[in-house]
């Protein structure tokens, strides 16, 4: 049993004031936004009706459409997610190494890597997809690269943090034997970050499966293309089929990730 050594004390006046200031700013921002945002009240009022109408059109689901177009698109979506996650590693691992202060000890390197990581995360995968579609044309390549570039920031940041948390004892031991830089990395750091590495990659893959399902909306391949086409043609029963397929694949991905993680870690 751990002993209770927590020292209770009241908030100081400054702490209290700053907390209330945060609440106040939030409330002011909220009411200001409510007042100025352009919401058409009629739309809000008949929203439930419209939604019921939409779901009524979706029923019955057009299962016959699955072998026609949905199946291939789903495989393509999975390919985009997996390949994107793998390509991310090419960029994310060097950036993570550069970002970890116990490997590279230079402020310049940290700034450069942080710049790349932050800008990768700031630009949404759909925006990345737009960029790559205008470079490579519509298709799977744009999707894969969009997923890859979006994931760099996430994987690099978390991996860098995992590297910073390793126990330096075994690394010093390796250094003392005169091991080379590469073998220190492979035999000292790698075994320690291995569980974190796999859990980060699996987690990102899970997210990417969700994200790759929407890339088709801007023309970057996958199930999104099918979804977009059938929506533009108002074939809501086919839309429902695509949504059901996405739902299924997301659930399957989650189950796979949970099981692999249990085995590995």
């Amino acid at each position: 049993m751990n002993t209770i050594d927590h020292h209770w004390q009241r908030f100081t006046l400054k702490q209290k004031l700053s907390r209330y200031a945060v609440y106040l700013v939030l409330i002011i921002a909220f009411f200001q936004s409510i007042k100025s945002v352009e919401v058409i009240p009629e739309f809000l009022l008949d929203a439930p009706e419209q939604m019921a109408d939409m779901f009524a059109r979706m029923w019955p689901i057009d299962f016959a459409y699955y072998p026609v177009a949905v199946h291939d698109a789903m495989i393509e979506t999975l390919n985009i997610a997996t390949l994107g996650t793998l390509i991310t590693l090419i960029f994310a691992i060097p950036l993570a190494l550069m970002n970890a202060s116990n490997i590279v000890n230079s402020a310049w390197c940290h700034w450069i890597s942080r710049f790349f990581l932050v800008s990768s995360r700031s630009v949404n995968s759909l925006v990345w997809a737009l960029l790559f579609v205008s470079i490579f044309g519509p298709g799977v390549i744009a999707g894969v690269l969009a997923i890859a570039f979006r994931s760099i920031g996430f994987v690099g940041k978390l991996l860098g943090e995992a590297i910073e948390e390793v126990n330096m004892g075994s690394i010093e031991a390796l250094k003392a034997t005169g091991a080379s830089w590469l073998s220190i990395l492979l035999k000292g750091y790698w075994p320690q970050v291995l569980p974190a590495f796999f859990s980060i990659v699996l987690f990102r893959w899970d997210i990417n499966v969700r994200e790759s399902a929407v890339l088709g909306l801007v023309g970057a391949g996958g199930i999104g293309v099918v979804l977009d086409d059938s929506m533009n043609l108002f074939q809501w029963d086919r839309v429902a089929m695509s949504l059901l397929a996405i739902f299924a694949i997301v659930i399957v991905a989650e189950i796979v990730v949970v099981n692999i993680r249990k085995r590995l870690i």
């Binding site: 702490q15 700053s18 907390r19 945060v22 939030l26 921002a29 909220f30 936004s33 409510i34 100025s36 945002v37 352009e38 919401v39 058409i40 739309f43 809000l44 929203a47 419209q50 939604m51 109408d53 939409m54 393509e76 390919n79 997996t82 390949l83 793998l86 932050v118 800008s119 995360r121 700031s122 630009v123 949404n124 759909l126 925006v127 737009l130 960029l131 205008s134 470079i135 490579f136 044309g137 298709g139 799977v140 390549i141 894969v144 035999k187 969700r210 994200e211 399902a213 929407v214 909306l217 801007v218 979804l227 929506m231 949504l243 996405i246 739902f247 997301v250 659930i251």
Partner: protein, 264 residues
């Protein structure tokens, strides 16, 4: 004890793990196969590089001349993010409490957990499409989308945080004869409040990011401006919008750091 017998410990400390090697082989085979399926030829790649330099060249002096359009989109994005975060956090505060298995009977928590999981399954853009189709173009669809996204994220994490609390304080408060509300307020909330603030600031941050994107499918905000600029090939304006989005997100990160420090 006659010194260390070195000939006995010749075993390689770093053994070859055949299972891991096989896994890597499968991964490599998969990569080769999917590269083939992607149909990426050297020609296309080369073409792409040409397009990329062209694109970058047209982006490079970012064009801020239509700043009023930019500003109105930015403000709409901010408004969407703030409103949806506040509603979303408020809703998930209650849903999280109800979904915690150690506070509620199973027949209450299981359906709520399923609802939360359902909110999380679909990507915000898909939810945005559905809302755009049902409530029309504009900020309302964006707000509803991000509320759903926030519930899916915070309510889940919040419920998990509640499940990790120590029940001793709950029992102590219960022993005084306190009612249900007091138990929640004085024994559960103090233990999870700081984590809840952490989740909320994170969600505010990610709502800010997502609010710049839901516009691509017509749900209001800067994304709509970005998408139409893309379709009109106004790449210099696109660059300006991207710069503004990155600046907005960095500002949001800065703000959430301050809030987190205050509530620590």
């Amino acid at each position: 004890m006659a010194g260390i017998n070195s000939s006995q410990n010749r075993e390689n400390p770093f053994k070859q793990n055949w299972f891991v090697t096989a896994t890597w082989l499968i991964v490599i085979c998969y990569v080769v196969y999917s590269f083939q399926a992607m149909g990426l030829s050297w020609e296309r790649f080369n073409d792409g590089l040409g397009h990329a330099s062209n694109l970058l060249g047209r982006m490079v002096p970012p064009n801020f001349s239509r700043w009023s359009l930019l500003l109105s989109g930015l403000i709409e994005s901010l408004e969407i993010a703030i409103i949806s975060s506040i509603f979303g956090i408020f809703i998930s505060l209650f849903l999280g409490l109800v979904a915690a298995r150690n506070l509620m009977p199973t027949w209450v928590s299981t359906p709520v957990r399923m609802l939360i999981a359902l909110c999380r399954t679909f990507h915000p853009v898909i939810i945005a499409i559905l809302f755009v189709k049902s409530v029309g173009f504009g900020a309302l669809a964006g707000i509803l989308t991000l509320i759903v996204a926030s519930v899916g994220f915070i309510a889940k994490l919040f419920a998990e945080a509640i499940e990790e609390i120590s029940l001793k304080q709950v029992e102590a408060i219960r022993a005084t004869g306190a009612g249900f509300t007091s138990i929640i307020l004085f024994s559960v909330m103090p233990q999870v409040f700081s984590r809840f603030i952490g989740f909320s600031t994170y969600q505010l941050d990610s709502n800010l990011r997502n609010s710049t994107m839901v516009g691509i499918v017509g749900a209001g905000g800067l994304g709509g401006t970005l998408f139409s600029a893309f379709q009109r090939f106004d790449y210099d304006f696109v660059a300006a919008i991207l710069i503004i989005i990155i600046a907005l997100i960095m500002f949001g990160e800065f703000l959430s750091n301050i809030v987190r420090r205050i509530f620590r």
